[in-house]
Symmetry: C2
């Protein structure tokens, strides 16, 4: 295949362009097409769907990997997607992949995740998009066992397409959980953060606060991403961006809504 | 009613604690209960569901309004909700209201909106929550005509409750559009941002980039928030946080997902 005939694949993440996870992802993508990396210049975890509107953005061409064009960006993961599409490519890539995130994005964490917000932004732009997360936080985590998952999901999305307005949220158990049994399509589990605030005093005696929390699954269903990953499977949840609670529209229309 | 028997109402926003919209909202809430304001110390528009995990947060008690306890916070709207619930109140308020945002949060803007992310965070915490937005961006915009809408929706939510896991996204047309005809329950319209990047050069000759864009409605349905607000109604969309595209789960389960 002529190099220019190969599909263009946009790679981004939220842990920053120098995180190991994005290296693995870009390496795997080279087998599928021409790879362009546009990723944050520093960690942007938990940035959700934030975009930068009160400040400008910078892009910097960086050395990343043989045969891969790469730019670091001063903004959020969603900023990276917008700059890639509207400034660098000036068009839509054939595929957008985000990750591989250092840490789980199961259940409601899709709302907080910069990794997944980049994929949702891809879906909003009509680009087939996948977010990959490894359920291990350390930067020293091994990504080797994630490669077959990345290859399988990518081949399926490029070969079969994704429903209009959908992207995928893929979570992969840590290597120490043992060999993977397969990949399962799931729904997003119900769960919540049992949050806490840790309050400390600075040397001058003034209080400051750290957010901390623990994720609690509240959904024993065996069709969820939490169940699948706890049972040795990689999970794959199709995500869409219509947040309407359609079943509630009629209920609230029955209120007295006169002014 | 004894002051301490009144329901506790948490008020936040994303335009910052000194924006006019939050003043109007807090004033109206005083008729419904005991008001606590916890809002960002600076504008946090377009922050989506971002939370602060790589830095600490500060809270500062501020003079806000007679009879209202108020704190400014160095973090995002979602940070404000977490600090209010887990540090200040150490419990759940009876109601959370966010806004009144200076600018529209129709359609897919619910994803980018800090105002609505605060309301979604409330829903995740099991708190009945409402985000209010005025479809006019200027800080000099008049909020007088929004008061009956705020009162009506608040009375309905406190009186009738909201479905489990749901919050409301309320958008109110600008005063210059003429008198409001009423409030309509709607679904989130399909739409997209036609984005663009404006590239400039700094005095040293280096490029920098501004995101800019124009929202384009793509959904002629007469049951949407875009339609209602264009036809003289305030719109009210019930929002939930399960982003699963349930109709796609079966489709992707039919792929070859062996490893």
């Amino acid at each position: 295949m002529n190099k220019t005939d190969r599909p263009l694949i946009l790679v981004t993440n939220d842990d920053g362009i120098f995180a190991p996870g994005i290296q693995t992802l870009a390496e795997e993508m080279k087998a599928f097409g021409e790879v362009l990396v546009v990723a944050p210049d520093k960690p942007q975890s938990a940035m959700g769907h934030a975009i930068t509107i009160h400040n400008f953005l910078r892009l910097r061409k960086v050395e990343f990997m043989d045969g891969v064009r790469a730019f670091s960006c001063t903004g959020t993961p969603v900023d990276c997607v917008k700059l890639a599409v509207y400034h660098i490519i000036k068009g839509r890539p054939a595929l957008l992949v985000s990750g591989i995130n250092h840490g789980s994005n199961l259940s409601i964490n899709v709302l907080y995740s910069g990794t997944m917000s980049a994929a949702v932004e891809g879906a909003l732009e009509g680009i087939p998009s996948i977010g990959f997360s490894l359920m291990e936080y350390g930067l020293e985590a091994s990504f080797e066992h994630t490669r077959p998952v990345v290859r399988s999901v990518t081949a399926n999305v490029l070969g079969q397409g994704l429903g209009k307005g959908c992207c995928l949220n893929v979570n992969i158990p840590a290597a120490k959980q043992g060999p993977l049994k397969g990949i399962r399509a799931c729904r997003q589990a119900l769960g919540s953060w049992e949050d806490a605030v840790e309050t400390r005093k600075d040397p001058a005696g003034h209080e400051y606060h750290w957010l901390k929390g623990e994720f609690t699954a509240k959904d024993p269903g065996e069709d969820t991403d939490v169940w699948a990953t706890a049972h040795g499977y990689a999970s794959m949840v199709p995500i869409q961006f219509d947040m309407t609670a359609h079943h509630e529209v009629g209920v609230i229309n029955s209120w007295n809504n006169a002014l």
